[in-house]
Every structure is written in structure tokens, then in C-alpha cells.
């Protein structure tokens, strides 16, 4: 295609335009910082080589990371879901209540997922039909979900914390073995795997959603919905359907965590997932998602979740720094990441 009449368009160094660039540096800084700090306080091996130490931050990263997948997809499409953490409690209570009323494990899980998907559909529909900011709509559900979960379990069984241990144990006289079913959803113990099931779900979900976002039509539409919704509609992108489906993905991710938490701990907890939506949004922002939409990546959110988890757990391995300083540090990190990402994004726009 050599033609002297063609006007050249300068090519851009592509790495600069990657949304997760900032969080790669961030992760490197955090790892080096905590390796240094733990070396000083003699806890290096406890955090970085001891299996229990590694579990501590890897499992937290997976838990926050699963929510951060949903948070980043929604943020790329220009929306928020503040109700994620509360929906973990709602899903957990729904699942535990269904077990209490004698529903077998698999149908109980399916029904819970359907309930949460419907909740996502309702929130998404309210957002796209009314044009209210999703911040307000999901703030409403942030109150409502947890309140409703506790109300239900207190009214129906007069308890706010439901133990499900009896329903997950194998029946004495043989027959159908629920541990098999248990294995499917919280399979780590059955197979003697080193990490909680969340970690494996997280890895699988990241691979699926990253491919979906960058290599499928649906992913393209997510970016377009958050970039310029009017322009996207003009070329036939079903913006409303894309947004509603993302709210459903977000509530289903919360549902997965809610069910897994109940299975691992043996009880539903009204405080499950408290503040996790904010941690997930922080991870997404650290990972380079633009708050106004149209820009970001799932990989960035993963790095953000890792940064969050290493800092969050690492502080326990460094006795000479006060635990409360962690929040200060996290806050500064979110601010710094937002600034850095804004700077990088402007470079992309200006070329």
C-alpha cells in the first residue's frame, strides 16, 4: 500500500494506551514495598512463602476481585453498582433459607441465582428507563438488599444468622450424597486444593470476561455504551440491553460469593460482604477504569484487587505500622491511581 498521495497518520506506542498500565506500576511498587517492610520486621517468609500467609492475601484478592470484575465491566459501560456487597448477604440468606425450608442444594443455588439475576434486571431497567444515575438507584438497593435479607430471615425463622451445616452434611443412611453437590460449588476441600474455591472461580471468570471484553462484539458494545451512548445507538448498538445485562452479571457475581461464603463458613451472615462494593470499585479505579465510562479493563481490576489485598493483609505482617494507617494508605492509593490514570487517558486522547 505504498502511495505517495496517502497522508500518513502517526502510529502510537500501543503500551501507553493500555488502561492497566498504571496498575502494573502500582502492583510492582506495592510488592516491593511490602517485601521490604516484611524483611525489616522479619516476617518475609510468613507472608510470601508460608502457604497460610499466601492464602491470606490471595483469597482476599479473589473475593474482592470477583466483585471487581462486575464493577469494572459496569464502570466501562458508564454505570455503578453500590449494592454488590449487600447482595452478597441477600444471596447468602436466600440460599440458607431455601435449605432451611428443605429445598435441596442444587435447586436452592439455582433459585438464588435466578432471584439475584431478576434483581439485577430490575436495577438495570430502572437505570436505563428513568435516566436516574446508577449511583442513586443502586444506593437505594444497598440499603434495601441487606435490610430485606435480615428482615426475611428474622420473620421466617426468627434468626439473623442461619446455620446450614445440617443440610450440607451427608445423610447418615447413605442415599444421595450432598457432599458431591457441595463439591461442585465449593470443590476445594473435596479435591484437597490449596486455596478456597473463590480463587479458582476468580481465575476462570477473569479469563472469560477478559476475552469477552476485548475479543467479542458484546465487549465492544460495553465500551461503546460507556463511551458515547448516543453515538453507539446511532450505529445500532443496543445500549440499554447491554447495560441491563451488566447489572445482572454484577448481581450474579455477588450471588456466587454469597453462596460460596455460606458453603465455606456453614452459615449465612447478615454482615457478609459489608463494604466490599467500595473495595471492588477502588480496585476497578486503581486498575484504570474511567469513572465516566468508555475506558478500562478487567485485567486492570485484577491488578487493583491484588494491590488492595496485598496492602490489606500485608499490613498485619508489619507490626511497626499501625493497622489504621492502612485505610489512609488505601485512600491515598485510590486518589493517586485516579490521577495517574486520568493523565494516561489524556495522553491517549491527545495522541
Amino acid at each position: 500500500m505504498e502511495d505517495e498521495r496517502l497522508r500518513k497518520v502517526s502510529s502510537l506506542q500501543s503500551f501507553i494506551s493500555r488502561p492497566e498500565l498504571g496498575s502494573v506500576f502500582g502492583l510492582a511498587i506495592i510488592v516491593v514495598t511490602f517485601m521490604t517492610l516484611t524483611s525489616i520486621s522479619g516476617t518475609f517468609s510468613a507472608m510470601w512463602t508460608n502457604p497460610i500467609g499466601i492464602q491470606a492475601w490471595v483469597e482476599l484478592a479473589a473475593f474482592v476481585g470477583i466483585l471487581a470484575i462486575g464493577a469494572s465491566l459496569l464502570m466501562i459501560a458508564g454505570e455503578f453498582d453500590l449494592s454488590m456487597g449487600a447482595n452478597i448477604a441477600l444471596a447468602g440468606h436466600s440460599f440458607a433459607l431455601l435449605l432451611t425450608f428443605g429445598v435441596p442444594v442444587v435447586p436452592a443455588i439455582l433459585i438464588t441465582f435466578i432471584e439475584l439475576a431478576i434483581l439485577g434486571f430490575i436495577m438495570g431497567t430502572i437505570v436505563v428507563r428513568t435516566g436516574l444515575p446508577s449511583f442513586i438507584v443502586t444506593l437505594g438497593f444497598w440499603f434495601a438488599s441487606r435490610g430485606f435479607a435480615v428482615f426475611l430471615s428474622q420473620t421466617l425463622v426468627n434468626q439473623s444468622r442461619l446455620s446450614v451445616k445440617p443440610y450440607l452434611k451427608p445423610p447418615a443412611g447413605g442415599g444421595e450424597d450432598p457432599t458431591l453437590i457441595d463439591n461442585i460449588f465449593a470443590f476445594d476441600k473435596a479435591f484437597g486444593l490449596p486455596f478456597d474455591a473463590e480463587v479458582y472461580y476468580f481465575v476462570i471468570l477473569v479469563i472469560i470476561t477478559a476475552f469477552m471484553l476485548h475479543r467479542t462484539r458484546y465487549g465492544n458494545w460495553i465500551y461503546a455504551a460507556g463511551g458515547d451512548a448516543q453515538a453507539a445507538r446511532a450505529v445500532g448498538v443496543p445500549v440499554n440491553r447491554v447495560k441491563i445485562s451488566l447489572f445482572m452479571i454484577s448481581t450474579c457475581l455477588a450471588c456466587l460469593l454469597g453462596v460460596l461464603t455460606v458453603m465455606t463458613s456453614g452459615a449465612s451472615d447478615p454482615k457478609a460482604g459489608d463494604f466490599r462494593e467500595l473495595h471492588a470499585i477502588a480496585a476497578a479505579v486503581i486498575g484504570g477504569c474511567a469513572l465516566m465510562g468508555g475506558y478500562g479493563s478487567v485485567i486492570g481490576a485484577v491488578l487493583g484487587a491484588l494491590i488492595f489485598a496485598i496492602a490489606s493483609r500485608g499490613i498485619n505482617f508489619v507490626p511497626f505500622i499501625d493497622n489504621n494507617l492502612f485505610r489512609v494508605m488505601l485512600g491515598m492509593m485510590v486518589l493517586g491511581a485516579a490521577l495517574l490514570n486520568q493523565f494516561l487517558r489524556n495522553r491517549v486522547l491527545r495522541g
Partner: protein, 253 residues
Amino acid sequence: MTATIQLRGVSKFFGNIIALKDISFEAHKGEVTALLGDNGAGKSTLIKCLSGVHVPDEGEIIIEGKPVKFSSPRQAAAAGIGTVYQDLALQPLMSVSRNFFLGREINKGFFLDLDRMSKITRQEMAKLGIDVADPNQPIGTLSGGQRQTLAISRAIYFGAKVLILDEPTSALGQKQQLEVLRTINEVRNRKDIAIIFITHNDLHARLIGDRFTFLNRGRILADGGRSDMNTENLRSLMAGGAELAELEAELKN
């Protein structure tokens, strides 16, 4: 030669307001039909009737000899009407090739065929005289004129027989305006596309137009071919002839 698109007595009313009255004009392939008029002349309403956003209340639209009726922009696009709006309907943070194919992506199996989309984007842009070295770069790195070219080549690639350009030069700097005019000329040279060029810039219309239609207050004020129009004529029609003379007289006093 049959006109590629022809309007016969098209009118559009909004309540008791006459937005368009008895508009008739035609556009031929390989020609630029310049549609001129001041703000409020009815240019936008006319484009919306052509591109399926509004349904005309009277008259008919004929494409290649067949009367058509559009009830949605999608139908108009399927019939070969490619409209490039002023805001271009582009995503600033998405890549050139993803913008080109947004809403009409090419799949290979379950995944996007990014290589093919990049290749086609580069080829199609080159046809209009722009070499995009890397179709994966964000569109924010293109100039205003280059973006206009992208929107035009996208419309053509997806089957536009009639290309409607809504004020393509008005939001651009001097140099980029010329770049867009050059692009329009490239499209004309293909000889298979009728171009409707909406503008209020008489200089641009004179440079590139083959036929001229003047709208004023929802009606056709004048129309004709290149030979019927001289600069003076154009200018006075744009300014509304008599009104200009009036102003001139006022200013002299």
C-alpha cells in the same frame, strides 16, 4: 439517467409549523448536490426525512426509480442512505477499526476477527486518501478531517448509494475543511455514489458542488446546475437577496 434519489413535493409539518413545503430535488451518482440554506431553512428536517428519522407528511421519496417509505433510520440505511451527522457518531476512546465496525462487527467463530477488521479499515481509508498506519490506535489521535473521512468511508463500506453529509466542514479548521472537500471529491470520483452536501458555506458549495438547491424558510428558493450559478448569484441567494440589499442600504445611511 434516472436519479439515484429523487424527492417529489415533500412536505413536513410540526403542528401548525410548516417545516418543509413542496420540496423537489434530485441527486445523481458521481455528482455532488449542494443543499444550501441559512439556519432554520429546513436543512436538518430535510436530512431527517431522507434518513428515516422523520416521515414526510406529503410527497414521495424515490430511490433508483422506486418509491420508498422509511419508518426508521435502520430502514433508510438498508435502502442505501448513508448519513454522516455533524457529531459523526464516533467513540473517541475506541480504536479506528473498532469504530469503523461498531454495531456491525465481523466475527470469526465466537470472537471478533480483529485482523480482518483492521485490514478492511485500512483499505477503505486508503481509498479516500488517508493512510492509517495502525488501525488499532484510538480515534482520539486522528484529526477532525480524518475522523470525518472515517465516518464517510464507513457509510460507503456499509452500502451507501446516497451519502448525506450534514455540515461536514462547519466544525473544522481551515486546513481540515479542505481535507474534507478533497475526501468528498474522492467519493465523487468513484462515480457510483450520489452525494448530498449540506452546508451554509457558499465558498465550499461552489468549490465542490455540481448542482445547487437553496432552501429558505422550508421552501426551495432556487436550484440549478453549475452553469446557472455564479459567485455573485450564490452569495446573494445565501444571504437572502433582498434582505442583503436592504441591509446594504441601511448600512450606507
